[in-house]
């Protein structure tokens, strides 16, 4: 689905089920989202100041910004884990009140987000159970999603018996288990080593094609954003606002060596670094 047509204008829908959703409706739309946290001793701190953008069906959108730009806050608002102070977040046309069934979330710290008292399959099973998937169809779903992330044989292990990269793959499998339309990832590869990270980047590109899932991926790593994205959304320093949205017209499938050698890759990278660093 995603392999071709890099010059296609990004932001138009590619894939999804037109019978089920309006073909041009964005999967998720933020409109004037502001988020303020009350400060101890009165006053408030504005984490997000007026953020507006859409993410189209099938798109891979990366959100970058300097630290403290409110990237995590933005993702929490997108997930329905936090309510914006003003503005709206709409998921498939409905305003968010809680985390909808069509959204999967992968947090940065797998050590904290996986449940250590459950095995790998137990972790995935709990996700299916929570969304009311019938008992007899769960084992097949678990096997399928674990195979997709290359963990077909690790189902009976506990997460803490696995390497960091494998643990994050468990978290990805768990987020994908209910076949979400939208996968939200908050700096998911920030706590693994560089080599593992490249492997995980390629894995997420492969898996999102396999599952036809729209991805919003928050990262502070410019190279990672350019490598993965169809579109990069740049946030300013606090309070975060969208300073620029850049379409990444690099050919797919992407390759850790060839893509990163591309002159266009270097140009995107330079441009984005300029945007993020000068603030």
């Amino acid at each position: 689905m995603m392999g071709q047509a890099p010059q296609q204008p990004v932001g138009t829908p590619r894939g999804g089920d037109p019978a089920e959703h309006h073909p041009y409706a964005p999967v998720v739309a933020l409109n004037g989202v502001r988020k303020a946290y009350p400060l101890r001793g009165g006053g408030q701190r504005l984490a997000l100041g007026d953020v507006t953008f859409d993410v189209a069906r099938g798109e891979f959108a990366c959100v970058v910004g300097p630290s403290g730009a409110g990237k995590t806050t933005l993702l929490r608002c997108l997930a329905g884990l936090a309510m914006p102070t003003s503005g709206t977040v709409e998921f498939e046309g409905t305003p968010l009140r809680q985390v909808p069934a069509g959204v999967g979330v992968v947090f940065q710290d797998y050590g904290r987000s996986l449940f250590p008292w459950l095995t790998v399959r137990g972790n995935v099973d709990l996700a299916l159970k929570a969304r009311g998937i019938a008992r007899d169809s769960r084992p097949a779903r678990i096997a399928e999603v674990l195979a997709s992330v290359g963990l077909a044989d690790a189902g009976r292990a506990y997460p803490w018996q696995l390497s960091g990269g494998m643990q994050q793959r468990v978290a990805i499998a768990r987020a994908l288990a209910c076949r979400p339309d939208l996968l939200l990832m908050d700096e998911p590869f920030a706590s693994v080593d560089a080599q593992t990270r490249f492997g995980l980047e390629d894995l997420i590109l492969r898996v999102r094609e396999e599952f036809g899932v729209t991805v919003v991926f928050v990262t502070h790593d410019i190279d990672e954003a350019v490598y993965l994205a169809d579109r990069v959304i740049v946030l300013s320093a606090s309070p975060g606002v969208v300073t620029e949205v850049i379409d990444i017209a690099l050919p797919r499938p992407r390759d850790q060596v060839a893509t990163k050698r591309d002159e266009a890759f270097a140009a995107y990278r330079e441009h984005l670094l300029g945007l993020v660093m000068t603030r």
């Binding site: 690790a154 987020a175 492997g199």
Partner: protein, 291 residues
């Protein structure tokens, strides 16, 4: 990445002592495992064995009525508690202990979880909880007797009332300490409030809850004896006091030994259950320690 997966899956299964190995090496590893267990038991038990041995030897020729030979005490223990009339006392004690402790444990976890989820109730009751926690439970015995009489109900109530606090407060503390990322994850997976509490918050707090249950067990045993000392006609505590009052020092010592056995056995059972229940906790901690 495939290799990585296979390696880790392998190490995950390594605990099951070479199930795919040939029969011969499987037998060898069983023998090795058995000798390891025996070795560990010996490391722990040597002091116990030495003390019992010393007591046995030191008391062997004793003619003191207060400190009879251990050999005689053990004979009395057998005659009274294993095959004799005191078996009924033992049964009555264990019954009250089990019932009181079970109530304390279940109610402690339940009320702890309830207070965790209801902030207003928690903040309002907190000072009273800590007051009751530090209040020595035996002082309540007369009051409980006034209300419940001197029957079995009184004993169970005293045990449950005294033993509930460690579990309740540890449950509350443990639940309050659950990582915010785990709560976010649970919400992101679409869990309802009740499921979040049961499937995420309770297991995440389990190490602390179990520590509380362990504390409650000790308190239960203490209160079992105390409740039998006062206005009672049965139980190990009653037996010990009556024996002492009627100058039956052999009987008294046998009762004390019986109590030590009950305490030791209860603790052993608890540790076995704990190791099973918190297998993941100790495993994960060991991995963190290595990293």
């Amino acid at each position: 990445m495939r290799g990585e997966a296979a390696a880790a899956a392998g190490s995950a299964q390594a605990g099951s002592a070479g199930s795919s190995a040939r029969a011969g090496s499987a037998r060898a590893s069983t023998v090795r495992a058995a000798s390891r267990v025996a070795g560990r038991a010996a490391t722990r038990a040597w002091l116990f064995a030495a003390l019992i041995g010393a007591w046995w030897a030191w008391s062997a020729g004793s003619t003191s009525v207060y400190f009879p030979p251990l050999a005689k005490i053990v004979r009395t223990l057998w005659a009274q508690w294993a095959v004799g009339p005191a078996r009924a006392q033992l049964g009555s004690s264990l019954e009250h202990l089990a019932l009181g402790y079970a109530i304390a444990g279940l109610a402690g976890i339940g009320i702890g979880a309830l207070l965790w989820s209801l902030r207003y109730l928690r903040e309002a009751t907190s000072p009273y909880l800590y007051f009751l926690y530090v209040l020595p439970a035996p002082v309540l015995v007369p009051a409980v007797i006034t209300v419940f009489g001197i029957g079995a109900a009184m004993k169970v109530v005293i045990i449950a009332f005294a033993a509930i606090w460690p579990t309740l407060l540890n449950t509350l503390d443990g639940m309050r300490g659950v990582d915010a990322v785990k709560l976010d994850t649970a919400r992101a997976l679409g869990m309802s409030g009740a499921r979040r509490t049961l499937a995420v918050v309770l297991p995440a707090a389990a190490p602390q809850v179990v520590a509380g249950l362990r504390n409650s067990l000790q308190v239960s045993i203490i209160l079992m004896v105390v409740s039998e000392w006062v206005a009672s006609t049965g139980g190990i505590g009653y037996y010990i006091v009556t024996a002492q009052e009627s100058f039956d020092y052999l009987g008294m010592w046998s009762g004390i030994l019986m109590l030590a056995i009950v305490g030791g056995a209860a603790n052993l059972l608890f540790v076995l259950a704990e190791n099973r229940l918190l297998y993941w906790h100790y495993g994960a901690r060991a991995v963190e320690g290595r990293a």
